[in-house]
Structure formats: C-alpha cells, structure tokens
C-alpha cells in the first residue's frame, strides 16, 4: 500500500497581489489512496474563491496511477470553469513522460522551478 501526503499552502504575489494555492504532493498515488486525496483537492478547489491560481508541486511525487492522471484533467476543468489557472511544477521524468503522452503538458503550463510557476500562475 503506497503512501501519499498532501500539503496545501497559500501564496500571495507581492507584485500582483493575486492569491494562489500550492498543492505539494509527496509519495506515490495508487488505487489505495487516490480517492481520499482527490476528495481533499476537490474540497480545496470548491472552497476557494473563483479565479484562484493553483500550483501542483510534484517534485517528490514518484508515481501516479491512471486514475490520478485522469483526475488531473478534471482538476484542470474545474479550475478553468471557476476562472482560475493551474500550473504543474518540478515533475519527475516518469510523470512528465506520462503527462506528455496524455497531452496534458500541452494544455497545462509546466514550470521547472517554483519561482517560474509563481510567475505563470
């Protein structure tokens, strides 16, 4: 049974004053833990003010199963319909490979660093 931890932190841009949320994921997402994780992320998106930016920091996320990749497209949809923006950052090569074949990296901006992500969101 894999383990995954989610940390949600707030970020306010000093230049634009725009607020964003950072989802930091650590560990591996598989069938055993995907649903509780997804529900937590959905809850945050739902409670947040519309137009909010979201950064997914995946530096220490080592594995994503197919379901979680599918939900990633759904997060993007939800965020976009609420007028927000979503950026992925610091992807592991395997996850980057999967997301690029799925075609997600063409529609969701991918940043190499957190600083870059802050500018993109």
């Amino acid at each position: 049974m894999a383990d995954v931890q989610l940390t949600v932190s707030d970020l306010i841009s000093t230049t634009t004053g725009k607020s964003s949320k950072i989802f930091t994921l650590v560990g591996q997402i598989d069938e055993s833990n995907v649903m509780p994780l997804v529900e937590k992320i959905y809850a945050v998106i739902k409670e947040a003010t519309p137009g909010m930016g979201y950064i997914f920091d995946l530096e220490n996320l080592l594995y994503m199963n197919s379901k979680s990749v599918g939900y990633m497209t759904d997060f993007y949809n939800q965020i976009k319909t609420r007028g927000g923006n979503m950026v992925l950052t610091k992807l592991q090569p395997n996850i980057n490979d999967i997301l690029s074949v799925i075609g997600l990296t063409r529609i969701i901006p991918v940043a190499q660093t957190l600083e870059e992500a802050k500018n993109l969101v």
Partner: protein, 367 residues
C-alpha cells in the same frame, strides 16, 4: 494414367463447358464487387478461389463413400432409418437434410481459410483479410456447386436453366459469400485474440460469456477467446446457411432474401470499420521509447476513458502513444475502435436530431 485423363477429357461435352462458363460468370461478378477494396495480389486471390472450388470434393467424397458402404452393408444405412423415423413429421426430414448440408458446407469452407492461415500466417494481417479469404472460398464453393445445378437444369430445358441461372447467380452465390464472410470476420478476430484480450484487460472487463468459455476450455483468456470466436463464427455461418436453405425449401424466398441482405449489411459495416482494416504488426520491430510501467499507466487510462465513452480523448492519447511505441497493436486497436465508436455516436446523433429538437450537442474534451 494418361489413358484415364484422355478418357476423362473425351467425356467432356459442350454442356459441361457451358455449365463451367455460366458458373464462372456470377463468381467473377461477385468476386469483383466484393473484392473491390482488397489490395492483395490477384494471383493469391485466384489461388484461394481455386482452393474453394475444391471444397465440393470432400462433400461429394463423403456421399460417395457412404453410398459405397451401404451398398455393401445395407443395415448400416442410418440415413434411411432416420428418414423413416421422421416420415410422419411434416418437413422434418427435408429440414434436417438442409441443416446438415449448411453445416458441412461451412465446415469445409472454414478448412480452406484455416489451411491458408496455417501455411502462410502472414497473409492474414487484418481482420478484413480473413473476411476476403473466406468470401473467396465461399465463391469457389458456389462456383463448383453451380456447375452441378446448371448441368441438371440443362437436362430440364432452357427455361429451367434460365431461372436456375438467374436465382443462383443473384442470390445463392452472394449468400455463400456472405455465410463465409461472417465466419471469416470471427476467424480474423480470433487470430488477433491477444490484442483483443489485452484490450479487454486494460478496460478491466471480461464478459460473463468469456468467463464461461475460459472455464469450459480450461485455457487462459487468449486461447479461450480464440476458440470461442472460431466456434461462434462457425455457428453463425452454419446457422444462417441452414436458415437460408430451410427458407428456400419452404418456398419463403422473401425471407431467404432478407437473410442475405441483412448479412450483406452487417458484413459491409464490419469491413468498413477501422478495426476491421487495422493492420496488426504481430512483431515488435521498433520498441517503445517509454518505460513499460509508464506505458501501463497510459494504457490503463485509455481503457478507463474508453469505458467512459471519452472517445476523442482516447483517439488523441492513442495517437501520441503510437508515436512513442509504433508497434503497440493494442493502442492501435483502441484507436480504431474509438474512431468507430465516435462515428457510430455521430451517426446516432444525426438520426436522433432528425426526430428531435436541436439539443446543441457538443463534445468537450480536455486533451
């Protein structure tokens, strides 16, 4: 040897030649119509057709052996016993006879396709190849059978010959091609059982029927899938052939025609589908540029989206994946099926829109 061949040739009359010519006409016309989209070498198609013409030999051979046997051992004539037994039931004997004829003819035509596939497995690289070969075997069989019917009709006069020629050319030849074609389709699917089974696995689905076959054959999923499809195809061909024969025998020509037309529509639909035309590679020539575990995640997602009916997304992802792994036949199968399903859905919506108010349907996709 030469003497016997010379004797044989000396017995050939103009009636025989005319019968051969008349039998060749519908076979040629239907062959041209049904093979119009086939790109295989003509020589190969002619060879399979010729093999098909030989299929009457075992059927006649069995009859000859049987007649020779009962001449020596009259008590062994179980056909006579069965006929007597059924004599009080109207139509029972004739129906049984035509069901038997339908079954034996389809089994023999199946043997031709099986023989070609066993000797040259590379010849069937798409499901449609199998359909084409089966159709040719069917046309070959119909050609040989027609020679006998035309010879018989000639003895009855011009009117009998004309009507036999018209009915058999238009209907019976096409019917033989259709019965074989249906079998050919299932044989083709069974040949690529590995790809079809893997597709079901990625979708996380196994039908209860397949579970039944797996338990029955005590084999793994791929082998059970293969057996089940060969048997089902054979049963479908034999069943429709027997039904056609029975309708004709009961003088229900319209019903027989409907059977043939329906088979024609079904077969045309199956052959026009992307999955039918998909060329399977059957060998890993290029290798994948993705790690197997990462590719597995993508395949699982494709299966999941396919189940959810997100066909456009499946199409997009499959195209990306095939660029990274050109020999991935399962991804190609998903792509072909998704395109077929999408087209089917569009057709359904078009038909539905004819009868309903504009619902403003649009398909939103993410990737």
């Amino acid at each position: 040897m030469f003497a016997s061949i010379a004797e044989l040739i000396s017995t050939i009359t103009w009636q025989h030649l005319l019968a051969v010519f008349l039998a060749a006409c519908p076979a040629l016309v239907w062959g041209t119509v049904l093979m119009a989209r086939n790109t295989r070498q003509k020589g190969l198609l002619v060879l399979i057709f010729l093999l098909g013409t030989l299929t009457v030999v075992p059927i006649l051979g069995i009859q000859m052996v049987y007649f020779a046997l009962i001449e020596k051992f009259p008590d062994a004539d179980f056909v006579y016993t069965v006929k007597n037994f059924l004599s009080n039931v109207p139509y029972a004997w004739i129906l049984l006879l035509y069901v038997y004829v339908g079954i034996t003819e389809e089994v023999v035509k199946f043997l031709i396709v099986r023989y070609v596939d066993l000797t040259r497995p590379d010849l069937i690289s798409t499901v449609n190849d199998s359909v084409y070969f089966a159709i040719l075997a069917g046309l070959g069989f119909a050609f040989s059978e027609n020679i006998f019917y035309f010879l018989k009709a000639m003895r009855e006069g011009f009117a009998a010959l004309f009507s036999t020629f018209v009915v058999r050319s238009v209907f019976t030849v096409c019917a033989h091609a259709m019965f074989s074609g249906i079998f050919g389709y299932f044989y083709g699917v069974s040949k690529f059982s590995r790809e079809f089974t893997l597709m079901s696995e990625w979708r996380g689905r196994e039908s209860s029927l397949m579970r039944f076959w797996r338990n029955l054959f005590q084999e793994n999923q791929i082998v059970a899938f293969r057996y089940a499809h060969v048997l089902f195809g054979l049963a479908a061909a034999m069943g429709t052939h027997a039904l056609f024969n029975v309708y004709l025998e009961l003088n229900k020509v319209l019903s027989a025609m409907i059977v043939v037309v329906l088979l024609f529509i079904v077969l045309t639909y199956l052959m026009r589908s992307r999955a039918g035309r998909l060329e399977f590679i059957l060998a890993d020539r290029h290798g994948s540029t993705m790690k197997p575990e990462d590719e597995a995640v993508v395949m699982e997602l494709i299966g999941m989206w396919f189940n959810e009916g997100r066909y456009q997304e499946v199409i997009n992802v499959c195209k990306n994946l095939i660029r990274r792994d050109p020999d991935n036949d399962v991804a190609k199968l998903f792509l072909a099926k998704a395109i077929d399903k999408k087209k089917g859905r569009q057709l359904f919506r078009s038909i539905k829109s004819l009868f309903a108010e504009d619902e403003g349907i649009d398909e939103k996709t993410v990737v």
